[in-house]
């Protein structure tokens, strides 16, 4: 009994603390066999050995399915991992290829910017070249004596212009016969009736879908003309809107608020109208800065609460 127990305990000791299920079964079988045979010495030994071999065989026999199971598991994982790897590789390869492709993608705006042909930020910021006489400089040499010119290192013959004043006048006469035209001074929409004071010869009839001029306007001709001629001060429509607002506010007896924020109102109303009209224009001061680089209309500094007040007033 004792040796068997020792063997068992030994075998236990040899076994790692957390054996897998296969090993545990095998150990239990060994323990069972050693427990059952404690009488005859020689026979016992041989019997034990035989049994152990038999057990081992059983164990061995029991192993292949486990290994196969194990192999199946490994196979599945491996395939999954392999696929994942391939996917990653493909993604990386695609990225690399697209980068290379991008480099070759000549002519795109991004590419032009990258090559410095198109500048995203500072387009148009040329520093003026110090010029030479374009008729006489290291690249252009004209020798009137020999009627030759050297330009960009190449020699040219100077062929004199043959056109005479008489020929010129002849061409002019030919054209005046061919093209009889009077420049229209009035544009009218096709289908509109001719105003009584307008000479039909001076009218240019504009198709309704013409992109150039089709909208009706809120300003009359005289106002428009004065707008163009205005040299300083607040532009007329801005002023008119401000005045309209002022009278409206006066009518509502809100004189105190008016006096404190009239300028702000003018500004904020302008802002609202501009942002309604076009997305590009934000505030008048913003426009002035964008367009000319310096403020052209001055407005008083205002606090945010003031402007919101004036806005809410305006919306009344």
């Amino acid at each position: 009994m004792a040796p068997a127990t020792i063997a068992v305990s030994l075998s236990f000791r040899l076994v790692p603390p957390r054996p897998c299920s296969v090993r545990a079964r095998w150990l239990r079988q060994i323990r069972a066999s050693s427990d059952g045979n404690g009488v005859a010495n020689g026979d016992r030994k041989v019997g034990v050995l035989e049994r152990k071999v038999g057990d081992l065989r059983a164990v061995v026999a029991s192993v292949p399915p486990a290994v196969a199971a194990l192999r199946r598991n490994i196979g599945l994982n491996f395939i999954a991992g392999f696929c994942l790897g391939i996917t990653l590789l493909a993604a990386v390869a695609r990225q690399v290829i697209s980068r290379i492709h991008e480099r070759d993608n000549k002519g795109s705006v991004a590419d032009l910017i990258r090559r410095g042909q198109l500048k995203s930020g500072q387009r148009g910021m040329a520093k003026p070249r110090v010029y030479d006489d374009p008729f006489n400089n290291p690249l252009v040499k004209i020798d009137e004596g020999t009627s030759t010119a050297q330009v960009f290192g190449k020699e040219y013959r100077l062929a004199p212009v043959r056109l005479t004043t008489e020929q010129q006048a002849m061409h002019q006469k030919r054209r005046s016969r061919t093209y009889q035209w009077k420049r229209p001074t009035v544009f009218l929409k096709e289908g509109d009736s001719l105003p009584p004071d307008v000479d039909p010869d001076t009218v240019r009839w504009i198709p309704v879908n013409h992109p150039f001029a089709a909208a009706s306007t809120e300003v009359d001709e005289e106002t428009a003309k004065q707008n163009v001629y205005q040299k300083d001060g607040v532009p007329s429509r801005v002023k008119a809107e401000h005045e309209a607002l002022q009278t409206r506010l006066e009518a509502s007896h809100d004189v105190n608020i008016l006096s404190s924020s009239q300028r702000n109102m003018q500004r904020s109303e302008r802002q609202i109208r501009l942002s309604n009209e076009s997305s590009g224009q934000n505030s008048l001061s913003g426009i002035a800065n964008n367009q000319n680089g310096q403020p052209t209309l001055e407005f008083e500094k205002h606090s945010p609460d003031n402007s919101s007040q004036s806005k809410s007033l305006e919306e009344q």
């Binding site: 042909q117 500048k119 387009r123 148009g124 040329a126 010029y131 006489d133 374009p134 008729f135 690249l139 010119a149 330009v151 960009f152 290192g153 190449k154 020699e155 040219y156 013959r157 100077l158 004199p160 212009v161 056109l163 010129q168 061409h171 002019q172 054209r175 005046s176 093209y179 009889q180 035209w181 420049r183 229209p184 001074t185 544009f187 009218l188 240019r204 504009i206 150039f212 909208a215 009706s216 306007t217 809120e218 300003v219 428009a224 003309k225 707008n227 163009v228 040299k231 300083d232 001060g233 532009p235 007329s236 801005v238 076009s278 224009q281 426009i287 964008n290 367009q291 052209t296 209309l297």
Partner: protein, 307 residues
């Protein structure tokens, strides 16, 4: 004359023989001829022949000569003068806004940051429209207002839209002189002749031609009309002959007019010479032709100004 032209000062069609070349060398600027501001319309009839390119370069060249210039983009439908001048991000107010009373004229002028004598005015935004009733008078008023300004410009250059409809009528209305841009092909020439006829009917008699996109190699092989052929067909004085030049497209993409290129390019140089003639109201008395007795083809790139 290609290069002796400044000799003839004053009146345009003057064909007097060039005096001695005493004025060559050491000149730093052309002599301004005539009362200012001079209102010049750059037109062509046909589209895509180089009106906008010409306007941008003339304006930039004038500004560099310290001759204040206002470039007006009257091509309301297909405006792109702002792009060529690199000012596309700064156009917020247009002549249409001035008419409506939303801003003053001086506020609608976009001043170039590097060329302080260059200002741009756009007629309208792509989708907004000019008032129909008096739209045709817009530029007349604008030119008049600029004339009365505290610092009137020396030149008002108007980039005319293609065609001869409302846009053309509006663009030529304030002009006193015209630069007629054409390419050496029969379609552009026929349109140019018609436009010249309409301009003359309108009283604009000072018309000069710029022959653009000339390819001396083709001219030499008689596959392309020469500038002299073009002149013979139109019967108008030559302001310049501009070769086909790939740098034109590069300069467009950069938003920097070709005449500012350093080193100079053939087309840029030709446009600069045209500017000098414009300032002096001069015309070419000779054009450059590729040497006939040199049969071997030289580098085509520099062989411009083909006669």
């Amino acid at each position: 004359m290609a290069f002796s032209p400044r000799l003839l000062p004053a009146t345009p069609p003057s064909r007097c023989p060039p005096p001695a070349s005493s004025r060559h060398g050491g000149r730093t600027a052309p002599e301004l001829s005539g009362p200012t501001p001079r209102v010049v319309v750059v037109t062509s009839g046909k589209g895509g022949v180089g009106k906008t390119t010409t306007t941008a370069n003339l304006a930039a060249s004038l500004a560099r000569l310290s001759l204040p210039a206002v470039a007006v983009d009257a091509d309301a439908g297909l405006r792109n003068l702002d792009l060529l001048l690199g000012l596309e991000n700064r156009v917020h107010l247009t002549a249409a806004d001035v008419l409506a009373g939303d801003c003053r004229l001086d506020q609608a002028l976009v001043r170039h940051r590097a060329l302080h004598d260059l200002q741009l005015l756009c007629l309208s935004k792509p989708r907004s429209k000019l008032p129909l009733a008096f739209g045709s008078k817009t530029l007349t008023w604008v030119a008049d207002a600029l004339r009365r300004a505290a610092n009137p410009p020396a030149f008002i250059l108007i980039d005319c839209p293609a065609g001869v409809d409302a846009g053309f009528v509006t663009a030529i209305a304030p002009a006193e002189e015209a630069v007629l841009v054409t390419t050496p092909d029969i379609t552009a020439l026929r349109d140019a002749d018609r436009v010249a006829g309409l301009l003359e009917c309108d009283g604009i008699k000072d018309i000069k031609i710029i022959v653009n996109r000339v390819r001396p190699d083709l001219v030499k092989g008689e596959d392309m009309m020469s500038a002299l052929d073009v002149q013979e067909m139109l019967g108008l004085p030559l302001l310049g002959v501009v070769p086909e030049d790939a740098e034109v497209i590069r300069s467009t993409n950069r938003g920097v007019p070709l005449v500012l290129n350093d080193p100079p390019t053939p087309a840029g140089l030709a446009l600069e010479q045209a500017t000098w003639r414009l300032v002096e109201r001069d015309a070419m008395t000779a054009v450059m032709v590729e040497e006939q007795e040199r049969p071997k083809k030289k580098v085509g790139f520099f062989s411009f100004f083909g006669g």
